[in-house]
């Protein structure tokens, strides 16, 4: 979230799209209710299903799954055509005026530089025009035909209300009503928040859907203000924190990309990420990158990381490609992965195409599962009838199942959607012989280290030299680790302006990332968390819930990264002179000498606003981008492509170009492409989701939840049920080209037939929560049905749009 849960109460308009907060995040959704009750906010819900969020909405619009870019592109087109934009905001705080290179083109759904064989782009033309002064050229009059404003207007002119109705199946009148409601927040004093979740991320164009939402918010001046923002409602209690800490194939802690194998030179690795300003007097904060990297390397390799060895740069593995989950399971299916560790993760249930997962896991030599619960993955080798029909004797994988503690039995911090790191305390011992994940990971490491120390082996250096200063080497404490990722001084730190003054003594915790140095004198395992455990102690454990400004900032509750800031980009809540756009909901302001107020300024604290520094300090332009330059796989502007399993034969936005039917820049493996189904055989659009009563694949192990929602079901609309002769309570078989599930049918008015491209289309709703382990009645894993294709940027699987056929059993 750019903003945070409590801040939703400040919104005047709430858009829930690509999510269903009332059911998936019920206690967060209360703040929507609060906004409606006390701020007269109006709630818009756009979803293929009439969800419980929709049931309390002022306006609900149905949409065909996977077509959100058409809907939001239509909104962009409406706002531009009707001049419903926050002029002062877009002109000063976005790239509206910037001029794009002449050789950048867009024709029939494809951008310049497309390579059809590789399914990827040469992105060199996707950039601004740079002037002789080294800065981006701009046209404040907005008349230049290649300024971002004009290009965008032209790009989205095709996204008409008629096109929205035709592609999305959304009635035009509903669409226009929603456009008007959103447009009401183009004034400087009204705010709209967008709340989304996996309904946007789990598409082959998911990242672009989110960008398109952000573009709407920028046009309306809704980023950086109270009650605004782009608010990703994360699905698990700490996937925010684990992503912040870089537990991804290609990341280091703090959103630093791991080097690729072509980056052999440390200085070039830094230079490629430490962006130089693209406009005069911009902060371009990533210029501080080397301080973050050196402090990380000191945290990991201590004295072995020196200036002479480029801070142990060779210890970092170098990428030749992304080894995300889908890539890894592809390699596993080819027999190229020997060992796998699943820590609190149940991929047999959570990854697409269960049949492929079963085959892949069976090719492993060893599988290690660490979990508090008996998961499906840990028993993938056991026959559970048609729910998991395998022959144990033929599966040669050695499996270890290690019992771990759960939340109640451990201490530490979790990072929620609001970016709050909240400390929690231990209430009991784990059952039986269960151990904490810390103890298990530490002992795997110390055993490996001991073997490398005594016997040697392949490149032992990063293992034997790993900094391991913990009092109990086999059981590091959460406190030790939190202090380490937060950071401390390794030597006395002198004030750069006055070297006689020591600002921080050796060994002291640091107050924030501004204290980090690139000379090896500081240590911090995750720069964005720096200060979470500061010189005054553990700020994550703070429990002062006071709210002196009344806008729900709670600055003394826990710690929000970065720098305890609650609303990102909050400089954009003020006009260029530093006065709040909305005095009633002011976050910060300029008092003539400094920035301050109800939040930690997301800006240089003493920067005079008249000097023109932009509010988006992480971007080298200093402003937000409508034109994404080369940062996205598919192109600089979001463009609609159909889901990989689509009921349509052509993309109505690019009817002449078959290569633009689906995401042209998606990575699809051959076996997975062959497993896609066609609408002739599988005519129904399917989507998966969570229920109010269950959490993921966990609560089927929980008695109370297994009682209130005991049995697997699928939802089908009245009209489809009538066509197929299905009554509520009948058993149905839902089949995709990859497998089938059987479940009880719930016939409902909540899923209505849509008119799409002149034909009637039915959706089938598939809740995900059942499996062959647990207390609830045994059922099929929903991912038996889903296709293996990821978003072109994040490789998040397309669980929200695929094709099935429903029949009565």
């Amino acid at each position: 979230m750019t903003n945070h849960w409590v801040d939703i109460k400040n919104a005047d308009v709430v858009l829930i799209m690509g999510g269903n907060a009332a059911e998936a995040h019920p206690c967060g959704f209360k703040w929507v209710t609060e906004a409606k009750a006390h701020n007269k906010a109006r709630l818009i819900v756009v979803d293929p299903r009439f969800t419980r969020s929709a049931s309390v909405a002022d306006v609900y619009a149905p949409i065909r799954t996977g077509t959100d870019i058409v809907f939001l592109g239509g909104v962009v087109s409406y706002l531009l055509a009707n001049d419903k934009i926050q002029h002062e905001y877009v002109k000063n705080y976005t790239d509206f005026t910037f001029i794009v290179r002449e050789d950048f083109t867009f024709t029939d759904g494809l951008y310049s530089g497309y390579n059809a064989e590789k399914h990827s782009y040469d992105k060199s033309t996707w950039d601004y025009e740079i002037g002789p002064d080294g800065f981006v050229k701009s046209d404040p009059s907005l008349t230049h035909p290649r300024c971002v404003y004009q290009l965008m207007k032209q790009h989205y002119a095709r996204y008409t209300p008629e096109m929205v109705a035709r592609v999305c199946g959304t009635p035009q009148a509903k669409f226009l009503q929603i456009c008007e409601m959103m447009a009401s927040t183009a004034t400087p004093t009204r705010a709209m928040t967008i709340m989304y979740a996996l309904g946007w991320t789990q598409h082959s164009v998911g990242s672009q859907m989110i960008r398109q939402g952000a573009m709407v918010q920028l046009l309306l001046g809704n980023i950086g203000i109270a009650g605004g923002g782009m608010n990703a409602l994360r699905g698990h209690s700490n996937i925010q924190g684990l992503t912040d800490l870089g537990l991804m194939s290609n990341l280091l802690p703090g959103y630093i990309n791991l080097p690729s194998e072509n980056e052999q030179d440390y200085a070039k690795f830094i230079a490629a990420r430490a962006f130089k300003p693209l406009r005069p007097n911009q902060l371009s904060y990533w210029q501080n990158l080397d301080k973050f990297v050196v402090s990380l390397m000191k945290a990991w390799w201590g004295d072995a990381a020196t200036a002479e060895n480029n801070w142990a740069y060779d210890y970092l593995p170098k990428l030749d490609k992304l080894y995300d989950m889908l890539q890894t399971f592809e390699l596993m299916s080819q027999g190229k992965i020997n060992g796998y560790i699943c820590q609190g993760f149940n991929p047999l249930a959570a990854a697409p195409n269960k049949a492929k997962m079963n085959l892949s896991l069976a090719k492993l030599k060893y599988l290690v599962v660490m979990d508090p619960l008996a998961t499906e993955t840990s028993e993938f080798w056991r026959n559970f009838g048609e729910h998991n029909d395998v022959d144990s004797a033929r599966i040669q994988t050695e499996v270890f199942r290690l019992p771990t503690s759960c939340f109640a039995e451990e201490e530490g911090s979790l990072t929620n959607s609001s970016r709050w790191l909240q400390w929690h305390w231990k209430g009991a011992e784990p059952p039986g012989e269960a151990r904490s994940d810390l103890r298990i990971m530490a002992e795997i490491f110390t055993r490996m280290r001991a073997m490398y120390q005594s016997d040697g082996g392949a490149f032992p250096d990063p293992i034997v030299n790993l900094s391991w200063p913990y009092a109990h080497p086999n059981d590091p404490s959460p406190q030790e680790l939190a202090r380490e990722f937060s950071g401390k001084a390794l030597k006395d730190l002198a004030d750069p302006k006055d070297p006689t003054k020591i600002t921080r003594k050796a060994g002291e915790q640091l107050a924030g990332f501004a204290e980090l140095r690139n000379d090896g004198s500081t240590l911090s395992g995750c720069w964005i968390f720096c200060g979470a455990w500061g010189p005054t102690g553990n700020l994550m454990a703070r429990r002062d819930n006071s709210d002196p400004t009344g806008i729900g900032q709670n600055l003394n509750w826990a710690f929000a990264w970065p720098a305890n800031r609650r609303v990102l980009y909050n400089r954009a809540s003020c006009d260029p002179s530093g006065k709040p756009f909305n005095r009633d909901r002011a976050l910060i302001s300029w008092n003539g000498t400094a920035w301050g107020g109800a939040d930690i300024p997301d800006f240089k604290a003493d920067e005079d606003p008249t000097h023109g520094m932009g509010p988006f300090i992480m971007n080298p332009e200093g402003v937000a981008r409508f034109f994404a330059r080369n940062t996205m796989a598919e192109g600089p502007f979001p463009e609609h492509y159909e889901p990989f399993e689509t009921p349509l034969a052509v993309n109505p936005l690019s009817p002449k170009e078959p290569r633009a039917l689906n995401n042209p820049a998606a990575r699809v493996f051959d076996d997975d492409r062959k497993a896609f189904g066609k609408p002739a055989q599988f005519p129904h659009a399917a989507t998966t989701y969570r229920l109010t009563e269950h959490f993921h694949y966990w609560t089927k192990h929980v008695r109370l939840n297994a009682i209130i929602q005991p049995e697997q079901f699928v939802e089908i609309g009245d009209a489809l049920a009538k066509d197929l002769g299905i009554a509520s309570g009948d058993w149905v078989k839902v089949e995709s080209n990859r497998g089938f599930i059987k479940a009880v049918a719930v016939v409902t008015k909540r899923l209505r037939a849509l008119q799409v491209d002149g034909k009637t289309l039915h959706h089938v709703g598939i809740p995900i929560h059942w499996g062959f382990k647990g207390l609830a009645k045994p059922g099929f894993l929903a991912n038996t049905l889903t296709p293996v294709v990821g978003d072109g940027n994040s490789q998040t699987p397309e669980f929200k749009s695929f094709l099935v056929r429903v029949e009565k059993v």
């Binding site: 703040w31 700490n238 925010q240 210890y315 190229k336 508090p372 270890f400 269960a434 380490e484």
Partner: protein, 196 residues
């Protein structure tokens, strides 16, 4: 009716309005010998924690028996929303309201187990045997397949044949240590639930 016990009296008066008027007619029960049962949570230890499900991260209060003394084994007996928490203000959803049954789920794993190649059952093993065997398998695989340099001579120091999926509800401290350990081995096939 005059020698009705206290428990029977409560049952009758609790059940009907007519019953409650019995007391007015003079049918009061014999004096209670035992004290009124103490409120169950009064002697419990309160521990602040966070709901491990979605990322609203509602504050919870866990009530445990046992006073944290060395020989008193704690057991969580009740979990409710933390009224001080600025987001959930004491409330919980139908998922969070069942948390106690997560802690005490019959699916909780109690000891390390091993499934041999081709077998259709688990066998119990010790932590020492499990971790010893895992570390040995990992080292064998790493030593056999570690890529220090590409054929072109680029230094890459990567290990691609063992991968890991990290958790989604483990703490930042667990995540940090897990990342530190896994990257020191040179692993790249490493993701967490955020990928999904």
């Amino acid at each position: 009716m005059a020698d009705m016990t206290r428990r029977q009296f409560l049952a009758v008066t609790g059940a009907t309005l007519a019953g409650s008027s019995l007391a007015l007619l003079g049918f009061s029960p014999a004096a209670a010998i035992a004290e009124v049962r103490e409120f169950k949570l009064a002697r419990a230890t309160e521990t602040r924690n966070t709901c491990p499900y979605c990322a609203v991260a509602c504050g919870i209060v866990m009530y445990g028996l046992g006073d944290a003394a060395k020989n008193a084994e704690a057991s969580i007996i009740h979990i409710e929303g933390d009224p001080d928490h600025p987001v959930n203000r004491g409330t919980l959803c139908p998922k969070g309201a069942g948390l106690l049954d997560f802690v005490h789920s019959p699916s909780r794993l109690m000891y390390p187990e091993y499934r041999a190649p081709g077998s259709d059952k688990w066998q119990r093993i010790s932590w020492d045997d499990a971790l010893g065997r895992i570390a040995k398998l990992m080292k064998q695989d790493r030593d056999a397949n570690f890529v220090a340099k590409t054929p072109e001579g680029l230094t890459v120091n990567r290990w691609l044949t063992t991968g890991m999926l990290a958790a989604s509800a483990s703490s930042n401290e667990v995540g940090y240590l897990t990342h530190k350990v896994i990257r020191s081995f040179g692993a790249l096939a490493f993701d967490n639930q955020a990928r999904v």
